[in-house]
Amino acid sequence: MDEETIKRFEQILKAREFYVVGKKVARVDALDAVLGRPMYTTDLLTSKALYVRAVRSPHPHALIRSIDSSATRSVRGVVDVITHREIPGVNDAGSLTSDRPLLAVDRVRHYGEAVALVVGEDEVSVDEGIAAFRVEYEPLPAVFDPVEALKPDAPRIQEQGNLINHVKIRKGNVEEGFSASDVVIRNEYRTPFMDGVPMEIEVAYAYPEPDGTITCIASMQNPFDVYNKVTKVLGLPPEKVRVIQAATGGGFGPKSDESPIDVAAYAALAAYRNRRPALATFTREEAMAVQTKRHSFRIVNETGATSDGRLLAWRSTLYLTNGPYYSKGHLVIQRATFHCTGPYEVPNVWADGYAVLTNNTLAGSTRGFGAPEAHFAAEVQMDVLAEKLGMDPLELRMKNMLRPGSLTATSQRIDDDGLVRCVEAAARLSRWTERRREHEQFNRANGRYRRGIGIALLYHGNTLGPEGEDYAVVHLSVDERGKVKLQTGLTEYGTGALTSLAILVAEALGIDVRDVELLRPDTRAVRNPGPTVASRTTVIGGRAALDAAAKLRAILDPIAAELLGCRQDELVYRDGKVMVAGDPNRSISFRELVRRAIGMGLELKVEGFYKAPDTKWDKETGQGAPYNQYTFGALVSEVEVDLLTGAVRVLRMTAVYDVGKAINPLGLKALIEGGSIMGLGHALTEEFLLSDGVPVTLGFQGYSIPTSVESPFEIVQEVVESEGKIGALGAKAMGEIPVVLPMASIANAVAHAIGYHIKETPLKPSRILEALEELGIAYRP
């Protein structure tokens, strides 16, 4: 491709006013959803399918002594039983690390681990078959606590030991920092396992094609992760497996990890062995038992400051409780540790982050990827420090927050003023000072209710950074009608990110966004674009989409220039036309230009690519620049605490984020609302409880996510645009970000209301009541 054209194209986009970007655009794919058209995996079944379900371990850690499937095989309607012995390829289902078998061999390491698959004509016969399946287990000593699991005599869950990553930060001299401090505080923070709970349960449908290909349609974030493992499990040549992402009812991380690989492999194995279509799905309870959870964290923060509130030293020790297999735990601890000080400049930092295998449920990616937990511990710590210093929490933050020229905990220099602008806007919009005073006045009435206001600030290292190769591929083709088809292995699962890609392409080609059609992700049609995780699609995928558009322009520009009799750099693409700058009468419609190009035998089919610069940091000291850019934000929450029941009601949230560049403002606003409420659930109700490794909060009756009545009536929003270095048109990552701050912000608001910082989430009524009793302020009518 013509490098010069691409460069010029980028300059044009940067220089001019936008016609589609930043305008209100409806989701391009929402119409099917409101009409209830078939789009999700189970809607797409073409013929009667076999049904597959796993026989699962009731033990968190046990040896498998024997397996007897004879009774199962004699159940009417059961057609096949699959154990690890029947796997034709490799028994490997680990999403990143090959440490997790699809079906247990001689040992199970967590409750619900799959031991065998039962395949039958329908759900009822499969369940009968599972009930008849006999496994003799010999329970093994198990370990559930990360600190216990690190002791030398702890049960060893995998060969290499239970510690799977130790992330370090060594900045300055932390001992000197503490000795120079007037005030030093030390607190321990805890967060439980939580579940992303996408509304659509894991599901996959597989069928054999006449040529022997196994095609698998499923609900997932990463078709290529699924494709790679299904190909490996089946032992088929790569061209004999095809994976297509159906519309996916929510992702939130779990659908980027282990369970989508499992269901797809179950369906594919059954289809392959029985030469018939097969459907694999979980029940909600089964999904909650085995889909990867948000890790439970234990974080000790020790902070030193001068009496006027300047941070001097920060020591963090973080324990991440992983399941028995890596999944993404070794990466989540890295993000949590890198963000352990919150968005503040601290000259001396010492941090140790440990990711530890246990026999708890599988844990992995969940929206935020360790950042919500790190921010909870850092931001409550800042509030406790403010109280100790007798300072306003906002003032303490403003004194220490990352400004242009500040160095983060990893000594990465911050160039932009995104955080400063967010904090100033949040203080103004929330009327911080007045509201604080009003709530304090309200509380002096000393009735049944107390109110409080709290703030938390955010920085979020963008996209993958140290978590993997940060590249994307987007394919574009144009047909004779001038319709642009956009296809990529990056997936849509609710965030609207693919609409952002369509907007960028429409902008670049001067066409209406409705003339960009999204095609389904299909491993046979697209190259592996990297995973759809880490809020990457708009930022990194957007660059690939722009690159693809530039490549189309490189084909079309010479033709247009010749037709219009102008230089290529005089061409303007706008309103469905290509015209000469300054002379709009000399123009040709985009459709006509396309038709001519196709008539000349040119193929309007391009592949856009972008790869973010590799990031560098030192493994021993954590020092360096682990991320290419940072998103910033500030969230103010106001709450009312019922001193009789311990219930917390969130009255209002004020959310300000530095998004770099708002590509799709409607989608962005909705995303911030949704993420804020998901975070509210994390703060107030959500905890996935296990009793010695056995889940006790399965299903929505056990695990409470916010309903419409628990959500606040008002979320005030403002967006700041402080251009990022790498994102499309300066965009910064936003997909996960809104879920990062609510735990911290709401906890600080509750503390303002009741005068005490609870350092463990969720802030459920029983926990609040316990604190109220301690404080002697529980309301007695």
Binding site: R27, D29, A30, A33, V34, L35, G36, P38, Y40, T42, R53, R56, P58, E123, V124, D127, E128, A131, G196, V197, P198, M199, E200, I201, A247, T248, G249, G250, F252, T283, R284, E285, E286, Y493, G494, G496, L666, G667, A670, L671, E673, G674, G675, I677, M678, L680, V694, P695, L698, G699, F700, Q701, I705, P706, T707, S708, V709, S711, F713, I715
Partner: protein, 187 residues
């Protein structure tokens, strides 16, 4: 073995282990009459999806918590339309009833005011809860055509959405309520 029961399916309990004699039912769905012979313990949601083939009604749990399977129904408890979670009923309980699913809302190529409002107000993200949410909203608006935002929130509190935080859903229902009142026709 009590532990194992927790991860086993709830479907089995609902449908029963022993195949039973089939029962004839007649149901009118979206204005179309259907007659089928069904197993007595077939859930209404499975009947709508698997037997009739209308897959817009979704399943998000097996325990009547999420509301993804909500449809409108008339004739089971009196002659008023009401929103029901179709996983809480057997198909045989719908014998003689009338049902409206998401597929029955758009008329003559025109979106129902709720569908239009959900689309225009960005009231959905992944879209999975949307059909159930729209029908729950419609059932609620039938009872309370001119609700406050707080009443709307209470009205749809039996339906879970993990993506939107409900903010735009409430706005969409408010806008649709206005349009329905102006039109004078709720369906």
């Amino acid at each position: 073995m009590a532990r194992r029961a927790a991860v086993r399916t709830v479907q089995r309990r609902a449908r029963g282990p022993v195949p039973q004699a089939k029962v004839p039912i007649r149901v009118k769905i979206n204005g179309v009459e259907y007659s089928h012979e069904v197993e007595p313990r077939l859930l209404l949601v499975h009947y709508i999806r698997d037997v009739v083939g209308l897959t817009g009604t979704h399943i998000g749990c097996d325990t009547s918590n999420c509301g993804a399977c909500t449809v409108l129904m008339k004739g089971t408890w009196g002659n008023e339309w009401r929103a029901v979670k179709s996983c809480t009923l057997y198909a045989v309980q719908a014998d003689g009833a009338e049902i409206i699913t998401i597929e029955g809302l758009a008329k003559n190529g025109e979106l129902h005011p709720l569908q239009k409002a959900f689309w225009e107000h960005h009231a959905l993200q992944c879209g999975y809860c949307t059909p159930g949410m729209i029908l729950a909203a419609l059932g609620f608006l039938k009872l309370n055509p001119n609700p406050t935002r707080e009443e709307i929130r209470k009205g749809i509190s039996g339906n879970l959405c993990r993506c939107t935080g409900y903010v735009n859903i409430v706005k969409a229902i408010e806008a649709a309520a206005k349009e329905i009142r102006e039109k004078g026709s709720w369906i």
